[in-house]
């Protein structure tokens, strides 16, 4: 045993904690006080390992990145957390949906939870656009980062789809007609929409295979108009389907930032 009488209590406690088997089983490296340990900290942590071990000094300047990618991810986490809480109260059926939204504001404790979710969604769309703008203006889409640019474009589309599907869930007049208008675009899908070009090609004699009851819009809505089926489908896509795909692509996105040489340098 070392002579403990001269070392401060906190140091002794720290030493004791870091020498326990629990601590040593979780952290397999020393304090990140030198370059080797700093690398080990990043490499041996599943969350940190997505990030670069080192970044350029310019990369952490707010002026260069605007922190928009990080803010977008933060807002995604906010939306995930608040959305999970909202799911405890919201029932995606025609009979309950609208009143559950009213209750979330007027009867459930912390009635701003839904507002946080809604404003967070607006903010996320803004930050994801600004992130894209920054990446474009700094030329960060250029090789070797062109693949990650494309992953980012898909993530942008998924963000917009999250907004679109979430738009229907309050089930008020604005929601129903907005989704009616929006989903009518799917009628004009080439080949697969019943009003789209090429849909007449898929026919058996006089029997059209692509009609209002079998086209892309019908698959999206689960019916001929925005009704019960559409509400449930949009709910499932909003809460599970799209976040799942977006989460996987985000992991790819962050990991590629690292593999493509970290955050790009100033022009």
């Amino acid at each position: 045993m070392p002579d403990t009488s001269k070392t401060p209590f906190l140091s002794r406690t720290w030493d004791y904690i870091t020498e326990t088997q629990i601590w040593r089983s979780i952290f397999r490296h020393g304090m990140p006080a030198n370059n080797r340990n700093r690398v080990l900290v990043v490499m041996s942590n599943v969350f940190l390992h997505l990030h670069p071990v080192k970044i350029r000094k310019s990369g952490i300047r707010l002026k260069f990145t605007w922190c928009m990618g990080g803010l977008t991810f933060f807002l995604f986490l906010v939306e995930t957390f608040t959305g999970l809480l909202l799911m405890f109260y919201y029932r995606p059926t025609v009979a309950y949906a609208y009143m559950d939204i009213i209750d979330l504001a007027e009867q459930v404790p912390l009635g701003i939870m839904r507002e946080i979710h809604r404003w967070g969604a607006h903010a996320m769309v803004i930050t994801v656009w600004l992130h894209m703008f920054r990446v474009f203006m700094t030329g960060s889409y250029k090789p070797p980062r062109e693949f990650n640019w494309n992953v980012g474009v898909i993530l942008l589309v998924l963000t917009l789809l999250l907004s679109f599907t979430g738009y229907l869930l309050p089930w008020d007049q604005l929601a129903i007609w907005a989704i009616t208008v929006g989903s009518n675009m799917a009628r004009a899908t080439p080949v697969l929409g019943h009003e789209g070009p090429g849909s007449q090609l898929l026919a058996l004699g006089d029997v059209k295979m692509v009609h209002a009851g079998s086209d892309a819009r019908f698959a999206l809505l689960g019916g001929r108009f925005v009704g019960e089926g559409a509400l449930l489908r949009f709910y499932v896509l909003h809460c599970v389907g799209i976040p799942l795909v977006a989460g996987i692509l985000m992991a790819v996105h962050f990991w590629r930032v690292r593999k493509d040489g970290g955050i790009s340098g100033p022009l």
Partner: protein, 230 residues
């Protein structure tokens, strides 16, 4: 398959693909000389037959009457393509079935066609809104007869309202206006409302079928079933 024999397989006599002892049986004994396998039945001596090594006996059975087992090469030659084709077909059909899952067989929606009562129940010169909520159709009675307007705005698909005081259909979404005939005259709607098939049923009632639509800009309003003469 003789070209594949290695030194160990050389101990196998001609026709060496003949089956060995069953799996799990005790080591080869002289009690079974008729099988042609040597007492030395080496675990590695059949590398060119199905069920190599210790499982050498699983691939061929004496009862099958085969004088020679199937070589691995010839087995792979047909089984690989067949296997991949079968696997691909299974994957493709699963994909199709999964896509089909998204299209329900039964819809809990109002039917596309419905009976709208007897012609005598309608007043001449009026737009009748009694079927709008349930079926999305207005039935208009003019001096000559009936036509059924589908209550879907031709701009972006909202439901317009009939405003009797202003004698027009008005869409709340973007302000498109339509005359009683269904012809657009204000707002962004690019074309008249669509009309549905309207005929007399056998029992004398009016039958409206939304699955058959008539568009003015295609000259279809003049078709016989777009207008019910009385």
């Amino acid at each position: 398959m003789a070209d594949e024999k290695d030194a160990a397989a050389g101990a196998t006599p001609p026709g060496g693909a003949k089956p060995g002892p069953p799996v799990g049986s005790p080591p080869m004994t002289p009690l079974e000389p008729a099988t042609g396998a040597t007492p030395a039945a080496q675990p590695y001596g059949r590398s060119n037959t199905i069920g190599p090594g210790v499982a050498s006996a699983t691939g061929a059975r004496p009862a099958a009457g085969e004088s020679a087992g199937v070589s691995r090469r010839s087995f792979m030659k047909w089984s690989l393509p067949v296997g991949w084709v079968a696997f691909s077909a299974a994957c493709a059909s699963s994909l199709v079935a999964t896509a089909r899952f998204l299209f329900p067989n039964v819809l809990f929606e109002p039917p596309q066609s419905f009976k709208a009562g007897f012609p005598g129940e309608y007043n001449v010169g009026e737009v009748d809104v009694r079927w709008k909520d349930a079926y999305g159709v207005w039935i208009v009675r003019n001096a000559e007869g009936f036509y059924a307007l589908i209550a879907v705005c031709t701009h972006l698909g909202c439901s317009p309202n009939w405003l009797p005081a202003e004698n027009k259909f008005k869409c709340p979404c973007h302000g498109s206006g339509f005359y009683m005939t269904g012809v657009n005259f204000e707002g962004p709607a690019p074309r008249p409302l669509e009309r549905a098939r309207i005929v007399l049923a056998d029992d004398g009632q009016i039958l409206v079928d939304k699955s058959v639509k008539f568009q003015s800009e295609k000259g279809e309003w003049t078709k016989s079933e777009a207008f019910l003469k009385v």
